[in-house]
């Protein structure tokens, strides 16, 4: 039992008040002359015992009254320790025999439990050191690091060795596997006699005790699995008989309330997307923040740093147990006056210049390691677009490509990023040199594409390029179908006027978008594409397509007349987008809708496959799987400067790209994949030794154990990062605690009632008289 307001226990001094008043009253007896003394004396003699008992009872009641008052005001609570002590509920101090101590060094143990910076890990280590000093039996220490490991090969009686190892331990950033550690403990105990008393003591954060742990094999005999409640250690419930050498002072005793005031929140994940509609070079960071505290989180600072410079600041306000989404818009550019010396990797200045290291950070709390997430802002490669104009006009606004050129203006897609070449053509023959370096080719109402053009486009697609087809009134269906048969998402069948075919031309009406695949990458810039003004576009005429879909094609937009309007297809490594209308206003007014601008820009990005390799993010100690062009060898460069070779994996290999893997990536931060200059398609040079940066990726902390309190196991099985994120309600151990102040209050009322009854009896006697 502990108290939320222990200082109120000072009120126990008030217990002295009733006896003092009692003594004062005794001294101040008023002399009264009375003749009927014999009656009085006899009455007193007969009732002396009862009177004294009643007086003592009253005194006791009044003392109890004050005691209950002090007890109620001090707000006693009782925490269900049995939840934390495991099934056996054994007090660790009572354990005998062989013991294996499992010490968790996961990042959640860095939770600060006192303002002085003492952490859960410090408490765990204190407990372990005390256990080592109190026993003579063989013991072992298993450290739950990236992988569980035992400090010694076997159980040892050399406790000094174990203690020395203990003192050198530090908390990591990983999420340790307690199950594996327990299995290792059982393996170490296997050699011990079956009838010997054995125990496995687990020292970790309360929330981790809820994980399912393996039970001891039968051949080991009885093994007690003890989960030590470190919060009890903190509150002084466990006697600290031998303080650890490194902490000469006593354990800081905090009240439950003080601990509840320590805020704990975590950044669960980060989604980074370009936000060109907010301006050139603008990005949007969408972070999910979970709040694990008991008090509402109000205006807690959050910010985005790029290369050490804060780009945008914001605040989050969350209720206890709530998970909120915060969006931050910022301009991703290196500050011109930011000193290069502030770079964490001064040895790699050139590399750092071309990729921007960023962090989303929350103001630190009791567990700071989960309050930040890294990200890379990669320099977007320039995009070269070749538009074949099949319907050039002298009047700009009548020109086939007028609206597309406006939509892909540099200030929209990014300065120095997009170069749009326009070629008027009727057959679309292309000079092969013209295709060099082109990412996207647009066929805008080209009347008769030649077979040569078709072959060139197919080759372009297989190399990973993109093709945007927008047939209009001038397009000859049979020629298109013939020349572009290998890349058309659907064969063309001819133009059709929208609306009721039986009505007159004036009253036929227009078709509209009816079904839009909102999750398709084409609509990534839209929060909700169904609410965009694309739906207001009226389509007077459209191209009918063959209903038989070729492989790897997908209808993205369907008109209300049931016909597809926008279809995509993957050909080789490239992509094709087919519209059922040209890019001018001849058939539809789609191009004058404001949302055509982000749609056109995103279509270009989609066709360049720009989003495919961007912003690779891996959780700490998980497996990295990426596709890289080239045969390698590739190596991963960590923020610490370590290099590890990637291995060929089972990734979806194509003619150009192969899957590569790296196990257990660490540490948290910004990583780079380095390729030899000759074998990589990446354009970034690194260093003077002709190495190139093939890819960048970040390693983030797995936030699944950020909640250190014992939350109810609502998620089935082992909780993943996602399951932690999806926990809508968090039931904490603090919520499970039982507050006992009302017992004090009930006692107070009861004793007040008893005193009232006693006094009423006396008054009643007076009334009777």
């Amino acid at each position: 039992m502990s108290f939320l307001a222990p200082w109120m226990l000072l009120g126990l001094f008030a217990l002295a008040i009733p006896p003092i008043l009692h003594l004062l009253n005794r001294r101040e007896a008023k002399p009264v002359a009375f003749p009927a003394m014999e009656f009085l004396r006899r009455a007193y003699r007969k009732n002396a015992r009862r009177i004294k008992m009643k007086q003592w009872l009253l005194l006791a009641l009044r003392i109890a009254l004050f005691a209950m008052l002090a007890l109620a005001l001090s707000q006693p609570i009782w925490s269900p320790r049995s939840n934390l002590l495991g099934e056996s509920g054994v007090d660790p101090s009572e354990l005998k025999g062989t013991q294996v101590i499992i010490l968790d060094t996961s990042y959640s143990l860095a939770y600060q439990v006192s303002p002085e910076g003492r952490t859960l890990f410090d408490l765990a280590r204190s407990h372990a050191l005390r256990a080592l000093s109190e026993r003579d039996a063989p013991m072992a220490l298993i450290v739950v690091g990236d992988a569980p490991r035992s400090v010694t090969q076997d159980l040892t009686a050399d406790h000094d060795l174990l203690a020395e190892s203990l003192r050198q331990l530090k908390v990591g950033e990983h999420v340790g596997d307690l199950g594996e550690a327990t299995r290792l403990a059982y393996r170490m105990l296997r050699e011990r006699p079956r009838d010997e008393a054995k125990s496995v003591t687990l020292l970790s954060a309360p929330s981790r005790y809820l994980e399912a742990l393996p039970s001891a094999p039968v051949e080991l005999g009885e093994v007690k699995l003890v989960k030590v409640d470190l919060s009890a250690e903190l509150s002084g419930d466990v006697a600290d008989t031998s303080s650890p050498p490194e902490s000469s002072g006593e354990l800081p005793v905090l009240s439950e309330r003080d601990r509840a005031r320590l805020v704990n929140h975590a950044l669960l994940d980060l989604k980074l997307t370009p936000a060109p509609h907010m301006g050139e070079g603008q990005w949007r960071a969408e972070v999910r923040v979970a709040h694990y505290g008991d008090q509402p989180l109000t205006l807690w600072p959050i910010w985005v740093e790029i290369e050490g410079e804060v780009k945008v600041r914001g605040f989050v306000s969350l209720q206890p147990g709530e998970i909120g989404v915060k969006r931050l818009y910022f301009r991703a550019e290196r500050s011109s006056d930011s000193p290069e010396s502030s770079e964490p990797e001064t040895s790699d200045k050139r590399g750092a210049e071309e990729g921007l290291r960023g962090w989303v950070k929350l103001a630190p709390d009791a567990l700071p390691s989960d309050d930040q997430r890294p990200f890379w802002i990669e320099p977007a490669p320039p995009i070269k677009v070749l538009a074949l104009n099949g319907d050039p006009r002298p009047t700009p606004q009548d020109d086939e490509l007028f609206y597309l050129e406006k939509a892909l203006a540099p200030e929209v897609i990014g300065r120095d990023r997009l170069s749009l070449m326009s070629r008027p053509t009727t057959r679309g023959e292309l000079d092969p040199e013209l295709l060099e370096g082109v990412d996207v080719i647009i066929l805008a109402n080209v009347p008769r594409p030649s077979a040569e053009l078709g072959a060139q486009l197919k080759k372009h697609l297989e190399r990973g390029g993109g093709v945007w087809l927008a047939p209009g009134a001038r397009a000859q269906v049979s020629v298109w179908n013939q020349a572009l048969r290998d890349l058309l998402p659907r064969p063309l069948r001819g133009a059709r006027r929208a609306g009721d075919a039986a009505a007159s031309l004036e009253s036929r009406g227009a078709a509209r978008f009816a079904q839009i695949e909102g999750g398709h990458p084409l609509f990534k810039p839209f929060d909700d594409v169904r609410r965009s003004n694309l739906n207001l576009a009226s389509i007077q005429q459209y191209m009918l397509f063959d209903p038989e879909p070729p492989p790897r094609s997908e209808v993205v937009v369907t008109l209300n007349e049931g016909v597809p309007f926008m279809i995509t297809r993957e050909v080789g490594e490239g992509r094709v987008v087919l519209w059922a209308s040209p890019l001018d206003r001849e058939w539809a007014d789609l191009v004058i809708r404001p949302d055509f601008v982000p749609l056109a820009a995103q279509t270009i990005r989609y066709l360049t496959r720009e989003e495919r390799g961007a912003l690779t993010s891996v959780l700490l100690n998980e497996k990295l799987q990426i596709e890289l062009n080239g045969s390698g060898p590739f190596s991963a460069l960590s923020p610490r400067g370590d290099r590890r070779l990637l291995t060929r994996g089972e990734g979806r290999g194509t003619s150009a790209a192969l899957g590569w893997t790296l196990d257990r990536v660490h540490p948290v931060g910004h990583h780079q994949v380095i390729a030899p200059a000759s074998g990589a398609s990446a354009s970034t040079r690194r260093g003077a030794d002709r190495e190139l940066i093939a890819r960048r990726f970040v390693v983030g902390l797995n936030p699944k154990i950020s909640e250190i309190r014992a939350v109810s196991p609502s998620a089935e099985g082992a909780p993943s990062a996602d399951s932690v994120k999806d926990q809508a309600t968090v039931v904490s151990a603090l919520a499970q605690r039982r507050e006992l102040w009302h017992i004090g209050l009930i006692g107070l009322l009861l004793f007040a009632l008893l005193e009232g009854v006693t006094l009423f009896q006396r008054r009643d006697e007076r009334g009777v008289s």
């Binding site: 009927a36 009455a43 007193y44 009177i51 008289s769």
Partner: protein, 332 residues
């Protein structure tokens, strides 16, 4: 003339006030009535064999037998007077007043119990003397303190008053013994008004019990035993008086505080007769005390009834008129 004196120091009220009160009961308080009512059917009526020896005249009061009206005197003086004969004047009233220190208590009453008793004595004396009865006064404490023989002269009232003023309080009492010795000192026959709080009967017995036993036994026997002893002591006195031809009226004077015990603070109770003081929380003993007192009062009343004594409880906070009417009711 001494009648001019209006206020007596010891009574606290003026003579005129006493006379006014006495007029309230008028001639209704008749010694003969007391005797007749008491002896009806069991003793010889005093009216039989009336003596022919003339003794004195007295004023007519309504209810007197007109046969005894002195018509001659009426013709001469135009006053109605009754002729009294020797036999009738043998009926004397003896007012026996308790002057023990316990009677000095004044709690909730307007005056001390003793003063209230003295007022009663004065009023009764005035009333009876006005009716031509012979009235005597006896005060007692541990022993008989003073004694005025019964006389029917009206100025005898002033002697009674003087005696009341001059009589002293007696610290300790052996009242039953003193009262037992009283019949030998008084002429036989008459009516005795015993005005006392009766504590001396209890007081005496309490001593006996305390001296005669020890341990838990007397306490366990409790109130009943002591009350019974008090009752028997009173009956003994009453019967001794009855034996000498006295008809007894017991006027039991108690203070309202004695009857209700209204104290509520922790107090050091000190007796008036030198008893050891005790510190008591009144709330704790109130019920037991009242039980003791009620038992005592009932034992006295019961003893009085068994001995042919009229019992009347007089509260010292009541007015004299009310008390006299109460006495009238008791003796009628």
């Amino acid at each position: 003339m001494a009648e001019d004196r209006d206020v007596t120091s010891s009574l606290g009220v003026g003579v005129h006030e006493l006379q006014r009160v006495a007029r309230v009961i008028g001639g209704r308080l008749s010694l003969r009535g007391i005797v007749e009512g008491n002896l009806s059917g069991s003793h010889r009526s005093p009216r039989q064999g009336v003596s022919l020896d003339f003794a004195q005249h007295r004023d007519y009061v309504p209810g007197d037998d007109l046969r005894h009206l002195d018509w001659r005197a009426y013709a001469k003086s135009d006053r109605h007077v009754i002729k009294q004969y020797e036999e009738e004047t043998n009926l004397r009233a003896h007012l026996v007043l308790d002057r023990s220190t316990s009677m000095r208590y004044r709690g909730g009453g307007s005056v001390e119990k003793g003063v209230f008793g003295a007022q009663l004595v004065a009023t009764l004396a005035w009333t009876l003397l006005q009716q031509g009865e012979a009235v005597g006064l006896v005060t007692f404490g541990a022993e008989l303190a003073s004694q005025l023989p019964a006389q029917s002269r009206r100025d005898h009232f002033w002697r009674i008053l003087r005696e009341l003023e001059e009589s002293e309080w007696l610290p300790d009492t052996r009242a039953p013994e003193a009262l037992l010795s009283l019949p030998g000192r008084l002429p036989p026959k008459g009516v005795v008004f015993l005005i006392t709080d009766g504590f001396d009967f209890y007081h005496e017995t309490a001593h006996e019990v305390d001296e005669g036993s020890s341990g838990r036994e007397p306490r366990e026997r409790g109130v009943k035993r002591e009350s019974e002893v008090a009752e028997s002591r009173f009956v003994e006195v009453a019967r001794a008086w009855r034996k000498h031809g006295y008809h007894v009226v017991l006027l039991h004077v108690l203070d309202p505080y004695e009857l209700t015990f209204p104290f509520d603070e922790l107090s050091l109770f000190e007796g008036l007769e030198g008893e050891e003081a005790i510190k008591i929380d009144p709330d704790g003993v109130r019920r037991a005390y009242l039980k003791e007192l009620d038992a005592f009062r009932e034992s006295l009343e019961r003893g009085a009834r068994s001995a042919g004594v009229r019992y009347c409880l007089c509260r010292s906070d009541h007015s004299l008129e009310r008390t006299l009417l109460q006495i009238l009711e008791c003796v009628s």
